[in-house]
């Protein structure tokens, strides 16, 4: 096993993910429209309720970074949890009997997830001007960096699940027990700065929290007053980055170990 073969493996697995994504027009449609739906329904509904309080920022603008992070999470999670489908339809065997290390397979899968997440985020960034978020080009590298980092963490998380979950039937359970709580605890829909202790504690282990936090700072800091921003932001960017990086390392390693063990 040389380095070149290792890289070829990552590349072809990545490529397959993208071919499949490109062919599945229904999935593409959903991934673009679902976040827009959230944004407009929740945003419009809650904006009216919150208009009277002194939130200091328009609610749609507050929610927008959260929605970007959430859709990055959905796409990245789905991209790797789809390994369960590969198992169900037999293709996983083809991958697992190949003379390649499991690490290369895991990295190829996560690379695919990251690429799709970045494409997804870019589409969503295009609507920023329409909801009154002024996007500064200088922030773009930072935003993409955090989108990549968040999708890495979530893809690893999905992969870990795929290595543990036996059949597609368990998928609904995962969505309800893990994914939806992760959405709601992440601070995408409301600020986490004034929530009870137990909720803070749960949010603190939710990787999405750190993604939302970082994207919110990067997307809003050029147009929201610093004192308002301080009330909305939990951690400095480097803390967000470190958490996501640590989380990714742990889950991806665990997934590789689990795949080696089970198959």
């Amino acid at each position: 096993m040389n380095v070149l073969h290792f890289l070829r493996t990552i590349k072809i697995i990545w490529e397959r993910e993208l071919i499949r994504f490109w062919r599945d027009k229904g999935r593409m449609f959903i991934t673009v429209f679902q976040p827009l739906m959230y944004l407009f329904i929740f945003g419009t509904g809650l904006r009216q309720t919150l208009a009277r309080g002194n939130f200091g920022v328009d609610f749609i603008q507050f929610m927008y970074p959260g929605i970007v992070a959430m859709s990055v999470m959905s796409i990245a999670f789905f991209a790797t949890i789809s390994t369960v489908w590969d198992r169900e339809f037999g293709f996983l065997k083809e991958i697992l009997v190949a003379p390649v290390p499991r690490t290369a397979i895991a990295l190829g899968k996560t690379a695919g997830a990251m690429t799709m997440a970045i494409i997804q985020a870019s589409v969503l960034l295009c609507i920023a001007p329409f909801i009154g978020v002024r996007l500064h080009l200088a922030e773009l590298p930072g935003i993409i960096f955090f989108v990549a980092l968040l999708s890495l963490a979530i893809a690893g998380f999905g992969l870990l699940f795929a290595s543990l979950v036996k059949t597609i039937e368990n998928f609904g359970v995962i969505m309800n027990v893990f994914v939806f709580p992760m959405f709601f605890l992440s601070g995408a829909f409301f600020p986490l700065t004034a929530v009870p202790g137990w909720m803070s504690a749960l949010s603190a282990i939710d990787p999405l929290t750190y993604g939302v936090d970082a994207l919110r700072e990067l997307l809003l800091r050029s147009q929201v007053a610093p004192d308002v921003l301080a009330r909305l932001i939990l951690h400095p960017l480097r803390v967000d980055a470190l958490f996501l990086l640590g989380f990714s390392t742990v889950v991806i390693s665990a997934a590789v170990v689990a795949f080696n063990k089970r198959n």
Binding site: R20, D86, F89, K93, E94, V97, P99
Partner: protein
């Protein structure tokens, strides 16, 4: 000559159940070697171990000179495995499936185009290479899997029930490809089957029952073990016939479904005697040369049921655990 597969006392236990029990055998280069046995006999578990998918409980084997325990990737690089259940990505085209495989097995890029055409032509799918696999029939998928397995030029091709679930015509067609592979490339083929007529294509057959090999030889040598012609007599009063056969000729007739079966040296001659002498009324007579089915019956005391199982052996095991 060094055998290409050398199995030494290989065993596999699943939670107290012995699936394969200290099996030893050798396969020579260029052979079609068949594993014949009923479902649950340990065929698929053995193939799974040789292909490094199932970890043996004890024993070892070398495939193409590499140990299945110590050099898994070495073995994987040198074998191809065609499963009972399809393992293609049916959202991709045939060509994309092949390229995926070629990359995983590090096929040199400059050789790829040539090999792609070669293997697809071999299974007559060259003109369908850009079609999405979803549009393929069951037989085409199986052919594509064989083509895919060949693209990295393996030394041994493992076929686990290669014709299961295919119609007879497709099955015959598939065998043509398999025999071409043997003839033109000297490919070693290790296959499992529970179809007796397919086992006839093998150079040598191991008959496996309850995890052990009960016989291993060429199909004709195995049939010689039964040695004699087989006569099957159908009769309304089976017990009376059984008694008459015993009393008059000293035969212990065996049951075969609702009939009785005898093994005699010269079937035609003996039938004539039966016609003239037998008192019990006979409803049907069959005389045949021994088949592998008869060999199997003689060795294990039971018939191989030719049913269509969905999953067996380690596949079931994998599906449950994986």
């Amino acid at each position: 000559m060094e055998p290409i597969i050398d199995v030494k006392e290989l065993s596999k236990r699943f939670k107290g159940l012995v699936a394969v029990d200290k099996v030893s055998f050798q396969v020579q280069k260029g052979e079609i070697f068949g594993f014949l046995g009923p479902n649950g006999a340990g065929k698929s578990t053995t193939i799974g171990m040789l292909a490094t998918l199932v970890e043996p409980t004890s024993g070892d084997a070398t495939v193409a000179g590499r140990s299945i325990r110590r050099s898994k990737n070495g073995v994987r690089q040198r074998i191809a495995l065609v499963f009972q259940d399809p393992s293609l990505d049916d959202r991709l085209t045939a060509s994309e499936n092949l390229r995926f495989h070629a990359e995983l097995y590090a096929v040199p890029k400059r050789d790829y185009a040539k090999r792609e055409e070669e293997v697809l032509r071999l299974v007559d799918l060259w003109d369908r290479k850009n079609d999405i696999v979803k549009t393929y029939s069951g037989g085409m998928k199986r052919r594509l899997e064989i083509a895919r397995g060949l693209i990295h030029y393996p030394e041994v091709l493992f076929l686990d029930e290669p014709t299961l679930g295919l119609d007879p015509q497709t099955r015959a067609h598939l065998w043509e490809y398999i025999l071409t592979l043997k003839k033109e490339r000297g490919m070693t083929i290790f296959m499992t089957t529970h179809y007796m007529n397919e086992a006839e294509y093998c150079d040598r057959i191991a008959i496996i029952d309850r995890g052990t090999i009960v016989a291993l030889d060429t199909p004709s040598a195995l049939k010689r073990m039964v040695g004699e012609d087989v006569i099957v007599l159908k009769c309304a009063d089976k017990e009376r016939l059984r008694k008459e056969l015993k009393d008059r000729y000293g035969f212990d007739a065996k049951d075969e479904r609702d009939a009785l079966r005898l093994e005699v040296e010269d079937g035609a001659k003996f039938l004539t005697r039966l016609f003239n002498e037998l008192d019990t009324k006979i409803e049907g007579i069959e005389l045949r040369r021994p088949t592998l089915e008869d060999v199997f019956l003689k060795l294990t005391g039971k018939k191989i049921r030719e049913e269509e199982p969905a999953k067996s052996g380690w596949m079931k095991h994998m599906a449950r655990r994986a």
